[in-house]
């Protein structure tokens, strides 16, 4: 099968639906701040980042964790990459751009967001069985989320600079 359906439609699928609905609601409630091009760039970057991480340490020879019901790629794994992960980074970038923080406060924001995401991951694994750890721990995820959010801010700054500067002819 190209993409497997879930074995049982239970807690992990409902967690995905609820968390996605909450983040998307936030996304639509916030006033529009970025152009569609910026949003698309952030989206594709985060989709790729999440998928690359899972396809690197979530498969053999490392195989440190499984996402959802099966070790194989499920429809819901794909939906998580596309609908759940990118809005989290989008919200961090939104906060970064809106608050215009100093370096110290920016560092605090990134650490705080990484901590919240880590706790959500821990809850998703413990109560909703979204992740099954086989050598990974949610405590390792904290520093990873810090790097992910920093990478997002760097990419956002790069995109802003690039859009303000160079124009190209078709």
């Amino acid at each position: 099968m190209i993409l497997y359906p879930p074995l049982h439609f239970d807690a992990n699928e409902w967690f995905f639906i609820t968390s996605t609905a909450v983040t998307w609601s936030l996304l639509f409630l916030l006033p529009k701040r970025f152009s569609l091009l910026v949003v698309l760039t952030i989206w594709v970057f985060n989709y790729s980042l999440a998928q690359t991480a899972d396809f690197t340490i979530g498969v053999k020879p490392y195989d440190l964790y499984d996402v959802n019901d099966r070790p194989q790629l499920e429809i819901f794994d794909f939906l998580i990459y596309f609908f759940t992960y990118p809005p989290a980074s989008y919200l961090v970038i939104y906060a970064y751009d809106y608050l215009k923080l100093t370096k110290v406060r920016l560092a605090a924001l990134v650490v705080f967001c990484a901590y919240v995401t880590q706790m959500l991951e821990w809850a998703a694994a413990k109560w909703f069985h979204v992740y099954k750890y086989m050598g990974w721990s949610p405590w390792y995820s904290g520093p990873v989320y810090i790097l992910v959010f920093l990478a997002n801010i760097l990419v956002f700054r790069f995109v802003q600079r690039a859009l303000a500067g160079k124009k190209i002819a078709e």
Partner: protein, 159 residues
């Protein structure tokens, strides 16, 4: 080990070639197409190997990183070159079709090299299917770049 080193050197050369691409593609196009193609390429490989079990997954760490570097650097940057060629207004349709065939041949040759050194173990897979898969990735990349360029035009970045 030697293969990992060789793929590493080719990846580095591919990374350096990005400087030349800047004349054809906008920096945010390079970033977006790169991550898009890398994710589509990895997704298709995982589906073929993990879900459809048509290709055997490598369990050796060095082999894994050799394939991973190829998926993250060599293949996406080659695709960037392909897209740069496709967006060149000076190229005729016939030349673009010829280039498409040429790039598919290059991608299939890469798979052939990995297959011949046993990095890729085909179970129910052939090089023809590899070519077809790369054609599909090419199509997805062209669709994505068309959409991206449309948005760039709307924002006045592409004139």
């Amino acid at each position: 080990m030697y293969l990992l080193l060789l793929v590493g050197i080719i990846s580095l050369a591919a990374l350096l070639s990005i400087r030349l691409l800047k004349a054809q593609l906008h920096p945010i196009e390079i970033l977006s197409y790169w991550v898009f193609i890398a994710s589509i390429e990895q997704l298709s490989f995982i589906i073929v190997a993990f879900n459809l079990k048509k290709v055997q997954l490598v369990t050796n760490h060095l082999d894994f990183w050799t394939l991973k570097m190829s998926s993250l650097f060599i293949i996406p940057i080659l695709f960037l070159w392909y897209l740069a060629c496709m967006h060149r207004t000076g190229f005729s349709v016939a030349l673009k079709l010829l280039l498409t065939a040429g790039f598919i041949l290059i991608f299939t040759l890469i798979d052939y090299v990995y297959w011949s050194v046993k990095l890729l173990v085909f179970v129910h897979w052939t090089l023809w299917q590899s070519s077809l898969l790369y054609l599909l990735i090419m199509y997805a990349a062209l669709c994505f770049s068309a959409l991206y360029r449309l948005l760039m035009k709307k924002e006045g970045i592409l004139t």
